[in-house]
Symmetry: C2
Subunit: 647 residues, 2 copies
């Protein structure tokens, strides 16, 4: 309690209270509060960056192949042959996306998520659409990744099948708590499982290819019951496109690096760009490899055993140590993929809150310097989805990826427009936008073309996705996103209107207050009400006590005591034939309020009895609280609680 | 708004507001509010009195026989022969009880429930024990009677078996609503079903006896699966006593008339006493008749068909119109028996509340002039019991009757003591007690003996009940009653200590208030906080505004604006390194409070932003509410809400 600053005659004074946060159950759960000055400023290199940001994208290789197969299964196992060419098409798409995002990373060294790029180049509506698409997708990433992680576990330990929803929800909450603590030394914790996963996958694909070449790769033994969607149908272009849509879920998470550029060591954009390249190469090769081998061994899509599990036990010849290591690494990377959303969702919702599109609480940093509101909101909605879809990856997939591809499209369109703007600047001219600075660059036409192609291709994929998955669930997301955008703008309107109401522009000096009336409702004459009377008389000379009479005998007693103790203050006894207490009192207060002069202030002084133990409150009518709630919505009436503590 | 009364210079003024209660969903559900002046004063004759007060006692003939049989079933069907002699023993007990209560009715013409008799003659602890026993039993009466009513319905329509809990709960709530409306013209509504039931029972027993004498009474055809309690066991005295205990549930409700003497027409005690006699005769003959016939047709206890249903279809030769009329009348009387509790429980809990043993709210008359709190509490607890015991009469019976017999014992002991007191008065001497007036009466020894025998016999029955049913559930009640008594005395202690704290005895003139300090927490400088500042300056010259700074930039902005708009009032900026808002503010307020002079008043003026739509509250931290809750428990700090309405 010190540090004054009053040399300049200003009435303002600075103090730092000697306040140390108390220990509580929250301290135990998420750790001691961190002072603002402790905010981390460390940056990471390419290897750590790959581990942290790539887990989302890489982990999708764990389910993408299976989700293609489950669609193709409708046309019989013969259709499984199409999975491999489809995976090649997806790799083509991945190459286009990688080139596009490489450019975004260099253009937005401060972080180039779809929301920022769309906001700067396409306007508010596009930005909000991108925001809603991304928020939806972060939630689905958590639900899908954790559900898929649990599916791997269940493949290895079928006895856990009945508890999959409970396990998934526990994992979501566990990751929530970890994130509420804040991940300060994330590097090592992330690097080990990520690289372990990559190593295990390459080992599996490598051994599988060697056995394929050697001719010793056998079909999967004792395959699980095959899962299909709906009835049997003929192979059609529509079915192939639907399988392609399911496969594109492998590309979710490709944008993660562009959101987190600021975390990289300088030269930031270069490091981030190279990390993106590495990630795409790993993702592409694993997807193609897994899909090829799955076809060769005749793996079937199933709710009870994942394709990865079938591959691993076929390639390694049984459920041995290598099999278990593969499943374990897959489970862990899937949980970590959920963790990527826990970084992205709170950061984006804080950005939206600062811009006034989400409640401001999302921009508050909690006791551990993280955006606690966003973290908790993400976890709760993801748990809800898991419960609704019973932790089924196949059930969740139709909702997934559509948001990602919409945000890809908006981001790439924004980038294309940005190149066009750059191309029309004079050399040397500089235009500062909110997220980046524009300077003329030669060769802008090529770059615009790359982003333009990215935009068109991702738009086509989004369209294919929406069409082929509409009935299975995409409609939910297509309905949800406009609703989110509407919510954003309603919130924004509220904050804007509030700001204009509170603004001091054109605010004159306050008019003088000519008169202050005080009304004091009392239930009886006792020490509590007399303490309140004393306080009321301190406020104004114009005090009226009011007693609502439910019982004439009681009223007579009050009157007699008031004559003795009321210090000559006026007492109005309101008769209440219906034994109501609040309504006659409100009617009286409203009448007084209606008859007051301009600028007259009306204060209601409420004696508030505060008992020693909380349960004593059950023994009293909570008159003070009821009256306060009723008066809250009356304009211009001040309510004062005068507590009377019984020791 | 009129009627002054200010001729005598008193500052007290009477007003009757032109207030008419608004129509709402409650009006629709329970009717328009009734003014206090409408309280009913009508009295009833013996025929109506029998209908209203006897339904509880008479209805127990619908299950008492069956509950004896279910106990005896453990020793095989041969043991069923003991049911008839047991029923004769119960009738003997009934005669003793009737004589005892006849005396109580004449001694307490103002109402002689066990609580009042025990309070006046045995002291507070016995009164509270009687009160807790009666409250417990009223609740069980509702649960048992409604469950038994539903069991009759299910016997006639077995398809309803799976919905018995839902039906029972709906009936309890229905009776609750009827009672919340208030039963003003209860006479006719009660008389018809009560006499219909008595007529149907006598018809059934009569036809049964005629067929028995004529030798045409056959055994029950196609009997339902027999229900037993626990395993097979040998016939023992213990088992017979347990069957006797179950049968004594027929006597619950005998005390109802003694509680409601005031409702009878003058000569009150005489009318009530004769009604009691009639009731006992009907109850005794029906119990013996039903038990005898049940033995003759070989009726078996069962969850799926009641003994009454087996009797009716055997006597009437099938499920015909007479059968259905019997079942219908039984169902209706059982629901009406629950209704008796709805009269007794609220009246007793109001009595306890007035004496300060239950929360005062139980003594408030609701909009329909009934004790709404008691009615709702009874319904909710009974529904809970029904849900826990799955509407099984056999499951509930072990909890039942023990409370009744305990209250019988206390009431009769109290009466015996009263006669002893009367015997020791001088002739002509008069002692006024709270519930009655004592005058010397010749022959007090005989009357004391009658009540004394009643006390001893009911005490023995209570003991038998507690012993034989302890394991099955009586322990719950034996545990619950002392807990209730403890709760009563805790509540009583609270009200007494509160009254002494609020008492104006030895209360001197209030000391003068030398100084009034005002603290004004602000989140920013805007129209809302300036309105609050204006109000704070109206209260005192000593105002300090406080801003908790989570962000130095924001603090600098606040400071700059305050220099311009703060009207020279002191502003303290509290640094908050942990980004907490409440804790530094509370620490500051506590420091100021700790340093204040004696009798200095401290007021916290909280600007409270009131949004136009309720959902807007989600977009704001509820700072005012949080602060108010935190300050509620600090002694001697006044909190004032200054609302700022955004239109």
């Amino acid at each position: 309690m010190n540090s004054f600053d009053q040399e300049d005659g200003s009435p303002v004074m600075y103090r730092t209270p000697d306040y140390v946060p108390r220990r509580s159950w929250r301290t135990w759960l998420i750790g001691r509060p961190l002072p603002t000055a402790d905010a981390p400023h460390q940056t990471i290199g390419k290897l750590a960056g790959l581990a942290i940001f790539a887990s989302d994208a890489l982990s999708s290789t764990a389910y993408a192949t299976q989700e293609m197969l489950v669609v193709l299964a409708a046309a019989g196992t013969a259709a499984f042959g199409y999975a491999f060419p489809i995976s090649l098409a997806i790799v083509g798409l991945l190459i286009i996306l990688t080139l596009s995002y490489e450019q975004t990373i260099h253009a937005y060294p401060g972080g180039g998520g779809a929301y920022i790029v769309a906001r700067d180049n396409l306007g508010e509506l596009s930005a909000q659409t991108a925001g809603s698409a991304l928020l939806t997708d972060y939630i689905l990433t958590v639900a899908v990744s954790v559900s898929s992680g649990v599916a791997q576990l269940v493949s290895a330990f079928p006895v856990l099948y009945d508890f999959r929803v409970e396990i998934a929800i526990s994992l979501v909450l566990f990751v929530m708590i970890v994130n509420l603590r804040g991940v300060r030394e994330a590097g090592a914790a992330f690097a080990i499982p990520s690289y372990f996963f990559v190593a295990m996958m390459y080992l599996m694909v490598g051994v599988g290819l060697v056995r394929y070449v050697a001719g010793t790769l056998l079909p999967v033994a004792d395959p699980p019951p095959m899962e299909t969607l709906g009835g049997v149908q003929a192979l059609s272009l529509f079915l192939i496109l639907r399988a392609f849509s399911s496969g594109t879920t492998a590309l979710t998470g490709v944008e993660a690096i562009s959101n987190g550029i600021q975390a990289f060591r300088e030269p930031r954009s270069r490091n981030a760009g190279i990390t993106l390249m590495w990630m795409s190469v790993i993702l592409g090769t694993l997807l193609v490899g897994i899909t090829f081998l799955a076809g060769e061994i005749g793996a079937v899509p199933s709710e009870s055993e994942t394709v990865i599990s079938q591959l691993a036990r076929t390639i390694y010849g049984g459920r041995n140590v290598l099999y278990l290591a593969t499943i374990a690494s897959t489970t862990v990377i899937l949980i970590m993929a959920a963790n990527t959303s826990y970084a992205g969702f709170p950061r984006l919702s804080a950005l939206l809150a600062i811009d006034g599109f989400l409640p401001r609480q999302f921009a508050f940093r909690g006791s551990r310097l993280v955006y606690s509101y966003g973290i908790v909101a993400l976890a709760l909605i993801a748990c809800m989805l898991i419960a609704i879809f019973q932790a089924s990856v196949t059930g969740l997939i139709p909702l997934y990826a559509i948001g990602v591809f919409l945000s890809f499209t908006l981001s790439q369109t924004g980038m294309a427009r940005r190149w066009w703007k750059i191309g029309h600047l004079a050399p040397g001219q500089e235009v500062k936008e909110r997220g980046s600075t524009l300077r003329y660059e030669p060769g802008w036409q090529t770059k615009m073309t790359i982003n333009g192609v990215g935009a068109v291709v991702t738009a086509v994929v989004a369209l294919i996705f929406a069409t082929t998955k509409f009935v299975q669930g995409a409609w939910v997301v297509l309905l949800l996103m406009p609703l989110l955008v509407l919510m954003f703008s309603a919130i924004h309107r509220h904050y804007r209107s509030l700001a204009s109401h509170l603004s001091l522009e054109a605010y004159g000096a306050p008019p003088p207050v000519p008169r202050h009336r005080v009304i004091l409702p009392i239930s009886g004459v006792h020490r509590g009400s007399l303490a309140a009377l004393r306080y009321a008389m301190l406020l104004s000379d114009d005090v009226t006590a009011v007693h609502v009479s439910l019982d004439p005998e009681e009223a007579a007693r009050v009157r007699k005591k008031w004559d003795m103790w009321g210090e000559g203050v006026r007492l109005v006894i309101l008769d209440s034939p219906y034994r109501l207490w609040l309504e006659p009192l409100l009617a009286y207060i409203e009448e007084v309020a209606a008859n007051r002069q301009p600028n007259e202030t009306l204060t209601i002084v409420v004696p508030n009895f505060v008992p020693k133990h909380w349960w004593h409150n059950l023994l009293h009518t909570q008159a003070a609280i009821v009256l306060r709630l009723a008066l809250l919505f009356k304009s211009g009436i001040v309510v004062t609680d005068v507590p009377y503590h019984v020791e």
